[in-house]
Symmetry: C2
Subunit: 298 residues, 2 copies
C-alpha cells in the first residue's frame, strides 16, 4: 500500500491525462493543469482538482511536449519550482536531451527539489491504464519521493542510474529505433505493393518472420485499415529524431539511417500530414510511387 500524495500533473494531453487519471484512481489527490481549458474542465469532471496548486504539493509530473515547455513550466514566469516545498519531486516525462535533464536536476536541486528524469513509453491507452513503461534515473531520494506516483502510472519502471541523464538517453535510443521502424515498415509495405504484395498479407506474413518489429505490428494495421486517427502524430518524429540527431552531433556520432528516416517524416509534414497518425508516413511512399493505399472502411 503506497502513501496517498498531493500530486499535480502539468500537461493534460493524451499521455498526461491518462497519468492524471491513474493518479486519481490510486487515491492521490491530483491537480491537473493545461493551457487547454477543455482538458482541465474534463479532468475536474472526473474528480480532479483544478486551480492553484497547494503549497504542500508532494509530486509534480510534467508531461509537456519538449524541453522548452518543460523549462517554462519549471522555471519560467510563474514557474512551479519556486513554489514547491523542499523535498518535493519533479517527475519530468517529456523526451529531452540528456544534458537538458542534467541541467534541470541541478537547478531543481538548488531549490531543494528532487528531479526524476523519467521519459515515458507506451502510448495513450497504457497511460490511461496506469501501465506505462518509465525509463527513469535520479537520486535515491528522487525515486523514493516519486514512488507513489510511479506505482500509480507504470507497469515497468526501469531504474537506469542515480542521476538525471540516463533516462533521457535511453528514451532517445528507443525513439531512434521506433521512428526508424515505422518508416521502414512503410517503406517495406509499399515496396511490397509494387510487387503485388497485399498490405493485409504483408502484416499477416511479416509479423511472423524475422523482419518484424513492435512498431510494424502496432502501426501497419492502421494502414491496412486506412485509419489515420492520430494515436501518435507524424509531428512527434521531426521533434524526437531531431533530438537524437542533435545529441548525436554533439557526440560526433554519425546516424545516417536516423537522418534518412527524419527526412521522410519531413516530407510527410510538408504534405500536410503532421497531425495524422504516424502510420501516414506510408502516404509519402505511396505518392512517390503512384500507389493507392487501402481506404477506410467507414
Amino acid at each position: 500500500m503506497t502513501e496517498a500524495t498531493k500530486t499535480a500533473v502539468i500537461g493534460l494531453g493524451s499521455m498526461g491525462y491518462g497519468m492524471a487519471k491513474s493518479c486519481l484512481r490510486a487515491g492521490h489527490r491530483t491537480w491537473g493543469a493545461d493551457i487547454n481549458p477543455e482538458a482541465v474542465k474534463r479532468f475536474q469532471g472526473e474528480g480532479g482538482e483544478t486551480g492553484a496548486l497547494p503549497s504542500d504539493l508532494d509530486v509534480a509530473v510534467i508531461v509537456v511536449l519538449n524541453a522548452a515547455q518543460t523549462e517554462a513550466v519549471l522555471f519560467g514566469e510563474s514557474g512551479i519550482v519556486a513554489t514547491l516545498p523542499k523535498g518535493a519531486v519533479v517527475i519530468s516525462c517529456a523526451t529531452v536531451p540528456p544534458a537538458f535533464a542534467r541541467d534541470m536536476e541541478a537547478r531543481c536541486g538548488e531549490a531543494g527539489v528532487h528531479y526524476l528524469d523519467a521519459p515515458i513509453s507506451g502510448g495513450a491507452a497504457k497511460a490511461a491504464a496506469g501501465a506505462l513503461s518509465i525509463m527513469a534515473s535520479g537520486t535515491p531520494e528522487a525515486f523514493a519521493a516519486a514512488r507513489p506516483v510511479l506505482d500509480a502510472c507504470a507497469e515497468t519502471v526501469f531504474t537506469l542510474g542515480d542521476a538525471a541523464g540516463p533516462g533521457s538517453a535511453m528514451k532517445a535510443v528507443n525513439q531512434l529505433l521506433a521512428g526508424v521502424h515505422i518508416a521502414a515498415m512503410a517503406e517495406a509495405m509499399t515496396f511490397g505493393m509494387t510487387q503485388g504484395v497485399d498490405p493485409a498479407q504483408f502484416v499477416e506474413v511479416i509479423s511472423k518472420c524475422a523482419g518484424t518489429s513492435w512498431m510494424l505490428e502496432n502501426r501497419a494495421p492502421h494502414i491496412v485499415d486506412g485509419d489515420y486517427t492520430p494515436r501518435s502524430q507524424i509531428n512527434i518524429w521531426p521533434k524526437d529524431l531531431g533530438i537524437v540527431l542533435d545529441v548525436a552531433k554533439s557526440a560526433g556520432f554519425s546516424a545516417p539511417i536516423t537522418a534518412t528516416a527524419l527526412q521522410q517524416y519531413m516530407v510527410a509534414v510538408g504534405m500536410g500530414l503532421g497531425h495524422e497518425d504516424d502510420a501516414a508516413i506510408a502516404k509519402v511512399y505511396a505518392r512517390n510511387a503512384g500507389l493507392t493505399l487501402p481506404e477506410s472502411k467507414d
Copy 2:
C-alpha cells in the same frame, strides 16, 4: 503420413545442409550435392546419398547463393532440369528477384517440371530442426509435388499465390526490413554508448519497449558478447538489399532507408568484415565514433 520421395538438395551450406538432414530424418531418400567436397562427404556420413542423381528424382531443392547460381544449377552446363522426369518439382530457395522466379517457372514448365518459388527464412538452427518459414508461391501441382519436402523442412509454409513471383516478392520485403533493422539496432546501440548507455542495458530495456525488433533481440546479444562468429554474414546484405533496390528501381520506387542501410553494410565489407556475423555492422559505427565495443569473454 507423407509419402517418402527421392529428393536432391543442391547446395549444402548452412541452410541447405540442415534441410537435407531434415529430409533424411523424415524418411526421404536424399541426395546431397555441393561444390565443396567436404560438405558432401559429411552428408554421406549422415546417411545421405551422393554422386549422380537418379533418373526418377521427385524433388530438387536448390539452396544456393543467388539467381546466377540457381540458373546455373537448373539450366547451365549439366543443368539438372534436362534430366528431371516430367512431373518432378524444383523448390527454389535462394533470395532472387520476383521476375527471375517467374522466368525460371516458365523455363521449367517447358520441360514439364513444376517450379515452386520458395525462399526460406529462419537461420541455420531452424533449418537443421526442420522448422523453417517458407514463403512459397506456385501452381497447385507444384505445391502438391513439393509437399512431402515442405513438411520435412518447414514449421510454417506461407501460401502466397498460384504462380512464381509472390514468394520472392515477400522474401524481398522481409529482407528489406531485416537488413534495415540490424543496421538500425547497431546505430541505436552505439548512439546509446555515446550517452553512457551500456550495451547489455540497451538489450535489457529496449527489448521490452516499443523500439524492439526481432532482429534486435536476435543480433544485439552478439555485440554484447563480442561474438562475431557468422550465424549470418555481413556479405548477405549487399546481395539481398541490392536485390531489393534493383527491384525497386525497376518499379520506380524510392527506398531511401534501405539504400542508406546498404551503404553501411558496404562500409563493413570495405573494412574486411564481410565474413563476420552481420552484427559486426556495429563496428562501422564504433569506428566512426571512436567507441570500444564489448570484447569476447573467451
